[in-house]
């Protein structure tokens, strides 16, 4: 146990606290205290991480700790972080924090909601601090199962269908993943399940051909890779606000992170040989997601498809296998996490007022709820890649990196993927134009009230970090630069 385990321990304590609370006030104070602690703790971790690197510690993972758990299977509870995980932990803390404020008035059964929400965050935090394949997989599955009840009970629309579809598809992904993990472990002849140790060994290439696609697809399902993205629109559209935020903002990043950290890092030869298949699939995700978003009229569906497109870009960039693109991929994970969480938060808030999410039934909302409206526009601009907001930095880096490949295949795919920026602009601007500007559709909307204080906290926090990432991306790229190299080094060896 070292201090990184606090990231798991705090939510566990939060759950205990929630269990003992009786009133909504107590529940909310437990959640806020926990979320603030997690935020502070990620800040401290960032500082310590930079200090460690400045002090000259060049190890791949720092703050590592290792405890034997199941000795017969060489399963250890081992933790450690590098720049990428630190970045992801910060992102998770931000979204958990804002998610609490976005679900301030959750109804019914607030206690159960926050319990499941905390369990979900345990899974996410645990995944990012693990360096052991087994613990990583365990946390991955812990993050999946609360989704069923969160969507099923507190969701909207065809929630039961969506919850079942999401759970089963993601479990399907994890089934592929488990075979992949067992293959990696037994194939490499390793005596440990620690990723860093396995990376030093060599898995026979013919085995890699089987287990790379399994592992990559397994994580790819969560990363909304075409054709396994179909859970995402339904799931995100039906989920309650905070869950959509956490799921689209962080959970989908588990997919990208896992592909990068497990599939490509441990099986570089197969990654080289088979990357083209997955490049095509993720390329389709990018463009298809954007096109699909144009045709939607439900705000949440628009954003869900846009998530498919943007998360596709993460996987796309990872598969380009060079440093610039990989850095861009991590930046895109952060940027998309913030933007999409903001979108879902705002959509949730607007839906809570208008009781509709169809853009055809809304119009001219900017006049009545100017705060939410302006924030929505900023989020939209961030999503379509306006400079000074986070999206620009990420996409720019990705495409510069992708264009470093000089062959026809990569060039064409890059250009096609670039076109998604234009399509994104189309649906974002149309959406904003229709329901924020436009003509008032429903006279009842005249009396809507603007954001409350807790909603403002949630929105402003997300906006702050979007601006921070967009205008000063160097501190993040400094942080992840050192950590992208080992994986890339493995790939170009």
């Amino acid at each position: 146990m070292n201090f990184l385990s606090l990231f798991v321990l705090i939510p566990v304590l939060m759950m205990a606290g929630l269990f003992l609370s009786n009133s909504r006030k107590q529940l909310l104070s437990v959640m806020t205290t926990g979320a603030i602690l997690l935020m502070i703790f990620s800040g401290v971790l960032t500082y310590m991480y930079f200090a460690e690197r400045a002090a000259g510690n060049l190890a791949t993972m720092v703050f590592t700790a290792d405890t034997v758990w199941y000795a017969p299977f060489n399963i250890h509870y081992s933790v450690g972080v590098d720049g990428i995980s630190v970045a992801m932990l910060i992102l998770t803390s931000i979204i958990v924090f804002t998610g609490v404020f976005a679900s301030w008035k959750i109804d019914p059964l607030p206690k159960e909601f926050f319990l499941w929400f905390s369990l979900l965050s345990i899974g996410v935090y645990g995944f990012f601090i693990s360096t052991d394949l087994f613990t990583m997989f365990m946390y991955y599955e812990i993050a999946l199962i609360p989704m069923y009840l969160l969507i099923g009970i507190w969701g909207t629309g065809k929630k039961e269908y969506a919850a079942m579809k999401l759970t089963l598809m993601l479990m399907g992904g994890s089934a592929l993943l488990l075979v992949g993990i067992l293959g990696i472990y037994y194939g490499s002849g390793a005596t440990t399940m620690n990723i860093l140790e396995i990376a030093k060994l060599h898995i026979p290439v013919e085995l890699q051909y089987y287990f790379f696609p399994l592992t990559f697809t397994g994580f790819g399902v969560l990363g909304a890779m075409f054709p396994f993205h179909t859970w995402s629109p339904d799931g995100h559209a039906s989920a309650p606000t905070a869950v959509s935020m956490l799921h689209a903002g962080v959970l989908m990043k588990l997919g990208g992170y896992g592909c990068f950290r497990v599939a490509m890092y441990l099986m570089p030869q197969a990654a080289h040989e088979l990357a083209w298949i997955f490049l095509i699939l993720t390329g389709i995700s990018v463009v298809y997601g954007a096109f699909a978003a144009i045709h939607q009229t439900d705000l949440k569906y628009i954003n869900a498809y846009s998530s498919v497109s943007h998360c596709g870009l993460v996987l796309f960039a990872i598969l380009m296998m060079n440093e610039t693109a990989a850095t861009g991929a991590i930046l895109q994970m952060l940027s998309h996490g913030l933007t999409t969480a903001l979108f879902f938060a705002l959509i949730g808030m607007i839906y809570g007022r208008t009781h509709t999410r169809l853009i055809t039934e809304m119009g001219g909302l900017m006049k009545v709820i100017p705060f939410l409206g302006v924030c929505f526009v900023i989020a939209g601009l961030g999503s379509l890649g306006l400079p000074s907001l986070s999206g620009f930095v990420a996409e720019m880096t990705i495409f510069v990196g992708s264009f470093q490949h000089t062959d026809m295949f990569h060039r064409v795919l890059t250009i096609l993927a670039c076109s998604s920026i234009v399509i994104t602009a189309v649906y974002i601007l149309r959406m904003v134009g229709k329901f924020l500007l436009g003509k008032m559709q429903d006279p009842h909307h005249e009396e809507l009230k603007d954001a409350t204080w807790y909603e403002r906290i949630s929105v402003v926090t997300l906006l702050f970090f979007m601006f921070a990432l967009g205008s000063a991306p160097f501190w993040v790229s400094d942080m992840i630069h050192h950590s992208v190299l080992p994986v890339i080094g493995q790939l170009i060896k």
């Binding site: 079942m164 075979v179 293959g183």
Partner: protein, 473 residues
Amino acid sequence: MDYSSFLQMREEFSLLGVMIFLLIYDIFAGEKGLKYFQPVALVLLTAHTIINCVPRDAFVIAGGMFHYVPVQTYVKSILNIGTLIVLLQAHKFLNEDANRIKRGEFYFLTLSTLLGMYFMISSGNFLMFFIGLETASIPMATLVAFDKYNRKSAEAGAKYILSAVFASSISVFGMSLIYGSTGTLYFTDLATLITGTPLQIMAFVFFVVGLFFKISLVPFHLWTADVYEGAQTNITSYLSVISKGSAVFVLFTLLVKVFGNLSNQWQPILYGMAIASITVANLFAIRQQNLKRFLAFSSISQAGYILLAIISGSAMGMASLVYYVLVYMFSNLAAFGVISIIEERTSKVRMDEYNGLYQTNPRLSFVMMLALFSLAGIPPFAGFFSKFFVFSAAAAHGYYVLVFVALLNTIISLYYYLLVIKAMFLNKNDNPIEVVKSDVAVKISLVVCTLGILLVGLFSTIYTQISALSFGF
């Protein structure tokens, strides 16, 4: 002959002592004394469980008839704990006026089956094995038909005894062929004498069917759903956990110890049966509305997963198997505990009657949810670990495709487990099951199961202990 060596069968004698004491107590105690029958029985059994939970050194007695190896202690302890939990859950049922008179028989029959399983587990000779098997089967049939004025229960009893007898007669036929081809029934001698002649293979197939029947693997599963549905719920849970748990253990030891030379023959058989059991049972489970039938099919598919541990034939497989049985016992008994208490109080067992259970009985729904998640293999519950170890044991021997098929099936199984969870938590119902009050005994049993589900996985000591003794099982 030195009879003192018999005293080494400590588990068997202590159980026999408890049984005989209870029998006499039941016959001779007056109205007043009988009030304490159940508490006394439970305390005695707990004492029996505790004094017999420490493994001893391996030994062979009775001229090779009785083989003891340390890992058997764990298996017997698991069976003991499971029986205790079942008896706790049956406490209220046996206190009812109609059943009070049959209470002694219930205990005596249950414990006789347990004794039979003990002998079956420790047998070193096919005759001994057969005696154990029958001692476990025949009282079992009586238990299934325990509620004899209930048509379904009587029918289930008849079904069970007919198919059980049929299966054991085929099994005995197999044994006779084994004797015919080798001239001995001792396991240690057979290990070398069985070389894979066609007659021996035929003998093996006939013999093993009897065990497949007990474990209720596809295609020998047809009795399961009807018997599970008809029998009193506590008997059903006993049947699904204890009877099955002992049989899989014996199957493993026999396959490796006696039929080790035939591994090229039995591995494909198990391979096919594992896939068939898991898949067929899963597909049938989806359509079940009666929760007892539902869990019957679920238990068939769980047995299929256990085959993945057996097929490896390794010490790791043995440890995974014992661990799997332990976890499966806690999860299944928790689920059956909830079903039995609700059936007892409200006589509702259909899934649609469980709609909205969470509104009225949050604790029971919660326990049920934990049990189902554990059965589905969701972390951080124990079922996740046991499934992972079983898969790992199979993957270590290169059965990746089998693991893959089994994993795809876990998705189907998750689907139907979620259906129950959906009914309890999501579905609305204007007229949900009323608030069910559970008595102390059931509460204790459910708390034990819940703790088992939550802690057995997270604390690795239990697995490490089992694993340490599994070498040279």
